[in-house]
C-alpha cells in the first residue's frame, strides 16, 4: 500500500524537448540546404563561365584568317577573307586606314557597312565573297584590319608588299691576272618607285663563304640598280661575287646568287672558233647532265701565236648537231660532248678557258662526288676507231670550280683536285682550261677536233679506252 508520496507516477515523454529539437533541426536544415543550394548555384555559374572563357580563348588561338585586299569591281578597295584556321570564324568588323591616316570602320558598331554587310561567317578553309568598302583607291598604302567575333585582329595591306628578286651578272666569269670585273644587279618584282640600297661584295672562294670584301653600296632609284665599280684582281684563284638588296617599305629584301669568278694566269692563244657537238647517250650508273646552253667560251682578242691576250667576257655557244666525229661509239654512257675547232692551228696554244654548268641528275638521287679521280679530258685530234692515239695525247683534268684554281703551267698528266660534291638536283659551274699537252694542235695537220669528256670513277685502262673518246661516264664514288 502506497501513500500519496509514494504513489507511482506514469512516465510521460517531455513534448517540449522533442518539439524544440524538431524545430531546431528543421530550421537548421532549411538554412543549411538553402546555403548549399546557393553555393552550388554559384559554383555552377562560375564553372560555366570559366569553361566558356577557356573555350573562347582556345577558339581565339585556333582562329586564323588571311586578309586579301584588292581593287574591287568599281575600282574601290575590296576585301576578301580566307579562313586558314581550324575553327569557323565570324568577321564582325573591318577597319581601313587609308594613305592619309584616316580610319574607316565597317560593320557592327559602325554606321558604315561593307557590301555585303558584316558580320559574315567564314567556315574552315573557305573563302568569303568580296566585300566592297566603297573607298576609292588612291596612291599609297592602305592598312586593313578585320576583327572577328572572338576578338582576334588580322592585318593586311594594300597593295601587298612586293617580293623582290635580285639577278646579277658579272662582266666576266674568267679574267686573267690584272683584269677587272664589275657586277650588274637587276631588280624584279618590285614597285616602280622601289628604293633602298644594293651592296656588292666578293669573296675569296667561289661559294661566297668566309669574309666578304665590300666593293660598293649603290642607291636604288625607282627600281634601277647602278652597277658596281670595277675591281681589279691581281691574284690567280677562284672568287665569288654577291649582291644584296636591302628592300624598302614596299619591297622585300633580296640577295643574288653567288657568281663564281676565276682569275687565271695570262694565257697564250686560244681557238677563235669553237663548235660543240652534243651526242645522245644512254643512262649510266650515275648521271650528270651537262647544260650546254651554259657553255661559255672565252676567247682572246688580238691574239697572236705564242703571245698572250686578254680574255673577253665569254660568249654562250649554242650546240651544233653538225659534228662529224669518228668514231661515234657510245657505250653505257649518259652524255658525250665535244668541242671542235676548225682553226685549232696555233702552235703552243696551251690555255683555253671554258665554263659550263653540270647538274647531278642521277635517277637514284644519289650524290655525285667529283674528286681526284675526276678527269676532264681533251683531245685535240681526230681519233681512229677504238680510241686511236687518245691515250697518249692531250688529256688531263685541268680545273674544277673551287678546286685548286686554273693551272698556270701546261698539264700533261692528270691533276689531283679536291673533291667537289654535287647533291642530287644541284648545279655547279665547272671552270676549266684546255691543256694541249704534247702539242696536239699539230697532230696530223689541218683541222683538228679538241674533244673533252668528264670522267669520274676508277676507270681501268681497257674500260676508258673502250669508251673513249665519245663517252662521258660518271661512276658513283
Amino acid at each position: 500500500m502506497m501513500g500519496p508520496i509514494g504513489r507511482r507516477r506514469h512516465a510521460r515523454p517531455g513534448i517540449s524537448g522533442l518539439l524544440a529539437g524538431l524545430f531546431v533541426f528543421v530550421m537548421l536544415f532549411t538554412v543549411g540546404t538553402g546555403y548549399f543550394v546557393f553555393v552550388n548555384q554559384m559554383n555552377t555559374a562560375y564553372v560555366h563561365n570559366l569553361a566558356a572563357n577557356d573555350t573562347a580563348m582556345q577558339g581565339q588561338l585556333d582562329e586564323s584568317l588571311r586578309v586579301i585586299a584588292a581593287s574591287g569591281a568599281g575600282g574601290d578597295l575590296a576585301v576578301i577573307f580566307q579562313n586558314t584556321g581550324s575553327v569557323p570564324a565570324n568577321v564582325t568588323d573591318v577597319m581601313v586606314t587609308d594613305p592619309s591616316g584616316a580610319v574607316h570602320g565597317f560593320g557592327q558598331g559602325f554606321s558604315a557597312q561593307t557590301a555585303p554587310a558584316l558580320p559574315w561567317p567564314v567556315n574552315v578553309a573557305a573563302t568569303s565573297p568580296s566585300f566592297a568598302t566603297g573607298l576609292p583607291i588612291v596612291p599609297g598604302t592602305y592598312t586593313i584590319k578585320l576583327v572577328t567575333q572572338r576578338g582576334n585582329v588580322f592585318v593586311s595591306s594594300y597593295p601587298q608588299p612586293m617580293t623582290a628578286e635580285l639577278t646579277t651578272l658579272l662582266s666576266s666569269f674568267v679574267v686573267t691576272v690584272g683584269g677587272s670585273v664589275f657586277d650588274t644587279a637587276t631588280l624584279s618584282g618590285v614597285t616602280p618607285t622601289a628604293g633602298g640600297n644594293v651592296s656588292y661584295s666578293y669573296y675569296s672562294d667561289g661559294l661566297c663563304t668566309g669574309v666578304a670584301t665590300p666593293v660598293a653600296t649603290v642607291t636604288v632609284v625607282n627600281g634601277s640598280v647602278p652597277p658596281s665599280p670595277p675591281v681589279t684582281f691581281g691574284t690567280v684563284g677562284s672568287y665569288g661575287w654577291e649582291a644584296v638588296y636591302t628592300g624598302d617599305a614596299d619591297n622585300s629584301a633580296a640577295k643574288g646568287v653567288c657568281e663564281p669568278l676565276v682569275v687565271s694566269a695570262i694565257p697564250d692563244c686560244v681557238p677563235s672558233n669553237v663548235n660543240i657537238c652534243l651526242a645522245t647517250a644512254s643512262q649510266g650508273l650515275g648521271s650528270i647532265a651537262i647544260n650546254w646552253d651554259s657553255f661559255r667560251y672565252y676567247s682572246f682578242q688580238a691574239c697572236s701565236t705564242g703571245t698572250g691576250g686578254s680574255i673577253d667576257a665569254g660568249s654562250l655557244v649554242a650546240p651544233t648537231t653538225a659534228c662529224a666525229l669518228s668514231p661515234t661509239k657510245v657505250t653505257s654512257a649518259p652524255t658525250a660532248y665535244t668541242i671542235s675547232s676548225s682553226s685549232w692551228e696555233s702552235t703552243g696554244a696551251v690555255y683555253h678557258a671554258f665554263s659550263l654548268n653540270v647538274t647531278d641528275a642521277d635517277p637514284l638521287q644519289r650524290t655525285m662526288v667529283l674528286d681526284g679521280w675526276t678527269q676532264l679530258w681533251f683531245s685535240a685530234f681526230n681519233l681512229g676507231a677504238g680510241g686511236g692515239r687518245a691515250n697518249s695525247e692531250a688529256y688531263g683534268m685541268v680545273n674544277v670550280k673551287n678546286a685548286a684554281g686554273i693551272p698556270t703551267v701546261p698539264i700533261t698528266t692528270q691533276t689531283s683536285v679536291p673533291s667537289v660534291t654535287i647533291s642530287y638536283g644541284q648545279t655547279v659551274t665547272l671552270f676549266f682550261t684546255i691543256n694541249s699537252g704534247g702539242d696536239p694542235d699539230n697532230y696530223g695537220g689541218g683541222n683538228v677536233t679538241p674533244i673533252f669528256m668528264l670522267f669520274h670513277g676508277t676507270l681501268g685502262g681497257s674500260s676508258w679506252a673502250e669508251n673513249f673518246p665519245l663517252t662521258a661516264t660518271f661512276w658513283l664514288a
Binding site: S16, Y35, G107
Partner: protein
C-alpha cells in the same frame, strides 16, 4: 486517521513546462535567426566574390585600332566577351612613362608626365567622350560591337602626340580586365 488523497497538479510543474517551451522556442528562433543571418552574410559575400569573378571572366575586349591627332587619341574598343565593355581607367603613355603619362578615369584626368604639365583636372565630355566609368551614358561597347572613345590631352605646352612616336594605351575594364595596345602615331 485517514487522509483523503486529492489529485492536484502542482502549478509549478505547468509553469515550468511552459517556461521551458517558451525558452526553447525563443532560443530556437534566436539560433535560427543567427544562423540565417550568418548564412545570408556569407552568401552575400560569396555571391559578390563569385559574381565579380564571373564578371571578370565575361569581360573580354580588344583594341584593334587607335588613331591620333596632335591633341587627342581615338580608341576603338571591340567587345568579344559576354558583357558590354565599360572602362574604369585608361592610361596613355609613350614612348616611356617619363616622356608622357596621362591617366583618365571616371572622375579625373591626371597628368603624371611630362613633369611640366603634371596635375589633375576633372573628367568631362571635353576630355573624355564618352565619360569613363559605369555610370549611365558613359562609354560602353556592346557585345560583338566596336565603340569609339576619344580622349583629349589637357592643354599644356609640351603635351602632344608627336608623329613617328609609339604610344601605349592601357585600358582597365570595370571588372578588372586589362588590355594594352600600342601604335605609332
Amino acid at each position: 486517521m485517514r487522509y483523503r488523497c486529492h489529485r492536484r497538479r502542482a502549478v509549478s510543474e505547468l509553469v515550468a513546462t511552459m517556461l521551458l517551451l517558451a525558452m526553447t522556442v525563443v532560443a530556437g528562433f534566436a539560433l535560427f535567426g543567427f544562423v540565417r543571418a550568418e548564412a545570408g552574410s556569407s552568401e552575400l559575400s560569396y555571391a559578390q566574390n563569385v559574381g565579380g569573378t564571373i564578371q571578370y571572366l565575361q569581360e573580354r575586349f580588344v583594341v584593334p585600332q587607335v588613331s591620333y591627332s596632335a591633341s587627342s587619341v581615338t580608341i576603338y574598343v571591340y567587345t568579344s566577351g559576354a558583357v558590354p565593355t565599360q572602362l574604369a581607367q585608361v592610361e596613355i603613355f609613350g614612348p616611356t612613362r617619363a616622356a608622357m603619362d596621362v591617366v583618365y578615369d571616371a572622375n579625373h584626368v591626371t597628368v603624371n608626365a611630362p613633369a611640366s604639365c603634371a596635375g589633375q583636372s576633372s573628367a568631362s565630355a571635353s576630355n573624355e567622350a564618352p565619360l569613363l566609368g559605369d555610370a549611365q551614358g558613359g562609354f560602353s561597347a556592346a557585345v560583338d560591337n566596336v565603340a569609339t572613345l576619344v580622349l583629349t590631352l589637357p592643354s599644356c605646352s609640351g603635351l602632344a602626340f608627336a608623329p613617328g612616336t609609339t604610344y601605349f594605351v592601357e585600358l582597365l575594364g570595370v571588372a578588372g580586365d586589362t588590355v594594352t595596345y600600342y601604335q605609332a602615331m
